[in-house]
């Protein structure tokens, strides 16, 4: 099917070219599918979505804490509850994410040009640990003091502590609230888009299956 409008406006048009490339790489029915391969029938598959949902709640509760400031939760009952929401959404995030990792490992989900999906997942995992770590540092309580004075040794030993000063609470707060969530957000979006672009990995050693006729054109 030709795009007639393209003839008039399309030549050398960056927007049109970008749009066509994007839609070709990820057609809408693949970005927001209403069907999935028949082999996706195990509860292990829900843990990616659960991880993402937990991340959403970590961001929401974190935003609420940010609205009232870093010290709010020590003096407000509501604030303490919101802090608890933040802690448990993050615990759930790691809980679901690790189970998701176990499942994807045993499914060897990197097969079929999906290595980048796996890599972005691992980097997001590590990024999550870094983000959670800075979160501990900005609690402004005994935990923060101990974790900071301990962690400094690991980071200093490899020269990183000279730039990333865990004893500098102002710096850590900005990394935790803005810089790391931004990086994590980008990684997670990339990861999810890659899953949609490549599709869910098919079974290992799939027995020779019947390839239905003319279905590929869908």
């Amino acid at each position: 099917m030709t795009d007639r409008v393209e003839d008039a406006y399309g030549a050398g048009n960056w927007t049109g070219a970008l749009r066509r490339r994007a839609v070709k790489a990820l057609p809408p029915e693949q970005l927001l599918p209403d069907r999935q391969p028949a082999y996706v029938s195990s509860w292990i598959y829900v843990f990616g979505a659960l991880s993402l949902a937990a991340l959403v709640w970590a961001l929401v509760s974190g935003t609420w804490l940010a609205l009232a400031g870093a010290a709010w939760w020590h003096t407000s009952t509501v604030g303490h509850f919101v802090n608890s929401l933040h802690l448990w959404s993050v615990e759930l995030f790691f809980f679901f994410m690790v189970i998701h990792l176990w499942g994807q490992f045993f499914m060897a989900s990197w097969r079929g040009r999906r290595a980048l999906t796996w890599i972005t997942g691992v980097v997001a995992f590590v990024g999550s640990i870094a983000t959670a770590f800075t979160g501990y540092l900005v609690q402004q309580n005994f935990d923060s003091q101990w974790i900071a004075t301990q962690a400094k040794d690991g980071l200093n030993s490899v020269g990183v502590g000279a730039w990333f000063n865990v004893l500098n609470t102002g710096q850590m707060l900005l990394w935790h609230v803005m810089l790391l969530p931004l990086v994590l957000g980008v990684l997670v979006v990339l990861h999810v888009l890659l899953v949609r672009v490549r599709g869910v990995v098919p079974p290992l050693d799939a027995p020779a299956g019947e390839v239905p006729p003319t279905e590929a054109a869908q």
């Binding site: 195990s42 009952t77 509850f81 499942g103």
Partner: protein, 55 residues
């Protein structure tokens, strides 16, 4: 609103720790790890509702 002092389960008491040789593990962490493994196994074993299949 929720009164934090009266949290139904107060975890602010000294922790319980288990020791096996060089391994020291808090009861709380053990519970979390055990639940994770349990949920993983359940996810593998529990039957998944069959959706309507298209050819």
């Amino acid at each position: 609103m929720i009164d934090v002092v009266a949290a139904p389960v107060d975890l602010n008491h000294p922790g319980h720790y288990l020791h096996w040789g060089v391994i020291q593990l808090s009861l709380a962490n053990l519970v979390v790890i055990a639940v994770m493994v349990g949920v993983f196994v359940l996810a593998l074993l529990l039957p998944f509702p069959g959706g309507r299949r298209r050819p």
